[in-house]
């Protein structure tokens, strides 16, 4: 009887059922879309941070910021004058990014700290290569032209000049013995091979795919850095489309090139327990002096640009909008259900006069509201999925600017890959992934909406006395 009555009522009151369901559907769809977009924002932020840190890195250790008085921060190029003006001259300047380095022993020191699972050092370099040639000017003597006493003019140099091109790129010295931590983990080898632990003394490089495309490098080619020839063994493609460096070389080679023996710019740290990151940070800062520890949370606060704005919008405006629409939908559903009970006073009164218990009448009303809720949930999930799919299909590009507000060991600070990223914006395509959790939340909301509406209506129906119900129509 319950199901027959339920089915007939819903069929008869299609419009009312549709209004209630659509109200709930709108709220639920909004929750799904906002949740998915928020998840997309978080994923985008994670990608941005991973492009700096690499997968699995919980924090980085860099040298504490000190006022830089070093003069070696200014690139110097030496070119000598040569007779053969057509001859090309070239000069490389290799600098440590940020000019702040730590001793390699710090890596061991950090590894030994409580709560640290793994620590790996890396050295970030910036290479500026100047190529070109001088053309000597030619001296020409001037003949007298009315100047008194002049037997011959002073020689005058004419022509000559310089034609140089500047190529700047970044090099990251990676610890080939520990490739599962550090910036390279966000890139995949798409051609050739990765480093092996035995290649710390080999002159081999892995080139970022975007840089390789620009320079038309392929596996097997050679690349010369500051006079040292390296063989390209692999091409790496960054997951986020933005790599940490243009060229990766073994750490020892990077130290040799930059004259930074036993020095690193950044120590990448993985904690044993990701929930204890703050404790580990405090331990390292306390026990390893002269360092700044930056966690991904610290770094996330430095992300700015449209990604940050959109993320803030999704978490604040989107969240509150969803809550407001949901509350409104629940209220509308409750009011409509309650009003439907008012219209059916005679019906429920008759059923009670026939001997139906209040509980049976209440169950009937709640059942109808529950089905409306489920219909709203199904519609809402469909609408929400369509919304999330549309966002993913459009994939709006968001820009993330990194590290602009940080100082010290932050992304703008101590000579780590983050600093390179600080100077440029990273473009991330926004997606809106819908998780099982989001669907579960939607279903729970639909059930809750149906139950709230049903409780209102059922409560009203249960309070009806058969005589009152019949008297109202007389």
């Amino acid at each position: 009887m319950f199901l027959i009555y339920l089915r007939r009522e819903l069929r008869r009151r299609k419009k009312a059922a549709l209004v209630i369901s659509m109200g709930l559907a709108l709220g639920i769809a909004l929750v799904i879309t906002v949740n998915s977009v928020s998840a997309g924002m978080t994923a985008a932020q994670d990608k941005v941070l991973q492009s700096l840190y690499g997968l699995g890195t919980d924090m980085t250790v860099t040298k504490a910021q000190t006022s830089t008085t070093s003069t070696n921060g200014t690139p110097k190029f030496s070119f000598g004058a040569k007779d053969d003006s057509s001859k090309t001259q070239s000069s490389d300047n290799v600098r440590v990014q940020g000019f702040q380095t730590l001793k390699s022993t710090v890596v061991t020191q950090v590894s030994a700290q409580k709560g640290v699972d793994q620590a790996v050092g890396g050295l970030s370099l910036s290479v500026t290569k100047v190529d070109g040639s001088f053309t000597q000017g030619k001296a020409q003597s001037t003949t007298g032209s009315g100047q008194r006493g002049s037997t011959g003019g002073q020689p005058k140099v004419q022509g000559g000049g310089a034609d140089f091109s500047v190529n700047s790129y970044t090099v990251y010295g990676t610890d080939v013995a520990n490739l599962d931590l550090g910036p390279m983990t966000t890139s995949k080898i798409t051609k050739g091979v990765d480093f092996t632990s035995s290649q710390s003394n080999s002159k081999v490089v892995v080139v970022d795919s975007a840089y390789a495309k620009t320079k038309k490098y392929s596996v097997g080619d050679s690349i010369t850095i500051s006079g040292t020839k390296f063989k390209i063994i692999g091409i790496a493609t960054a997951d986020s489309g933005d790599s940490t460096a243009n060229v990766y070389i073994p750490l020892k080679q990077a130290q040799t090139l930059s004259d930074s023996k036993d020095l690193v710019t950044t120590v990448y740290v993985k904690a044993t327990d990701s929930k204890q990151i703050d404790t580990v940070k405090a331990t390292i800062q306390k026990n390893v002096s002269g360092t700044t520890v930056t966690t991904s949370a610290d770094l996330a606060s430095t992300v700015s640009g449209s990604l940050s704005t959109a993320s803030n919008l999704a978490t604040s405006v989107g969240k509150w909008l969803s809550i407001a629409v949901l509350i409104a939908a629940f209220l509308v559903a409750a009011l409509l259900t309650s009003s439907a009970v008012s219209r059916r006073v005679r019906e429920f009164g008759t059923l009670k006069a026939l001997g139906w218990k209040s509980g049976r009448v209440t169950r009937q009303v709640m059942g109808e509201a529950f089905v409306n809720g489920l219909l709203g949930g199904a519609l809402g999930i469909a609408l929400g999925l369509a919304g999330a799919y549309t966002v993913t299909a459009i994939s709006p590009t968001l820009t993330a600017s990194l590290g602009s507000t940080s100082s010290g060991g932050g992304p703008g600070g101590g000579g780590r890959p983050g600093q390179q990223a600080a100077a440029k914006a990273i473009d991330i395509a926004l997606t809106a992934p819908v998780s099982v959790n989001t669907i579960a939340i939607a279903v729970a909301l639909a059930v809750a909406g149906g139950l709230i509406a049903g409780t209102f209506g059922g409560w009203r129906a249960s309070r009806l006395r058969p005589a009152d119900a019949l008297r109202r129509v007389e």
Binding site: R12, G355, R465, P466
Partner: protein, 233 residues
Amino acid sequence: MYKLSGVTKQYSRGKETVHALRGIDLVIEDGDQVVIQGPTGGGKSTLLQMLGALDRPTAGSIEFDGVDIAKLSETKLTRLRAEKIGIIFQSFNLIPTLTAQENVETALAPMGTKPAERRRLAAEALESVGLGERLHHLPGELSGGQQQRVAISRALVKKPKVLLADEPTGALDEGTRDEILALLDGLWKEYGLTFIMVTHDSHIAKSAPRLATIKAGQVTITDQARQTAPVSY
């Protein structure tokens, strides 16, 4: 069957108190057919609601088979209505979304009758009132007389001890009225029921075996041609 002693019913309407029934004493025997007649607002429908366990008196007692139903809990009143009292309403009060058969089934649902048995009994009840061909029709597809026949089937399908009818022909034309009255009279005799009907139709009142005239909340009983149905329970 019924023994009413000093039954009073008052309603509050704002600051005003309405005395619907004023200390009614009335005895109705098993198998009696009683017609309650009176002017509008005289308290006849209120009396029927008391007899149908739909409402409680403000004072007095209503004994049904020796049990004072004024003191019964809501659950017991509900069970009493479900098992022993059949009610017919002036405007039929059928559930518009359910078919004739399903409407009749609603009276069996609270008794825990199994679905197949419910369907069989409902079909039989409708056939007994000449609606065997209209089982799957919705109330909106039936005439007024047919709808009242469905309502009668619904009231009788559970084989109640008492049939209460509140102006059962009030919404019908004269021809249909007579058909329904003849049907009810036949069923009263066939089922051996106690049949109590409220009406303001003096034609019906004149032919009633027992007439209870209610005026200003008080009842006068007249045995016009008293007869009782052969009680079958």
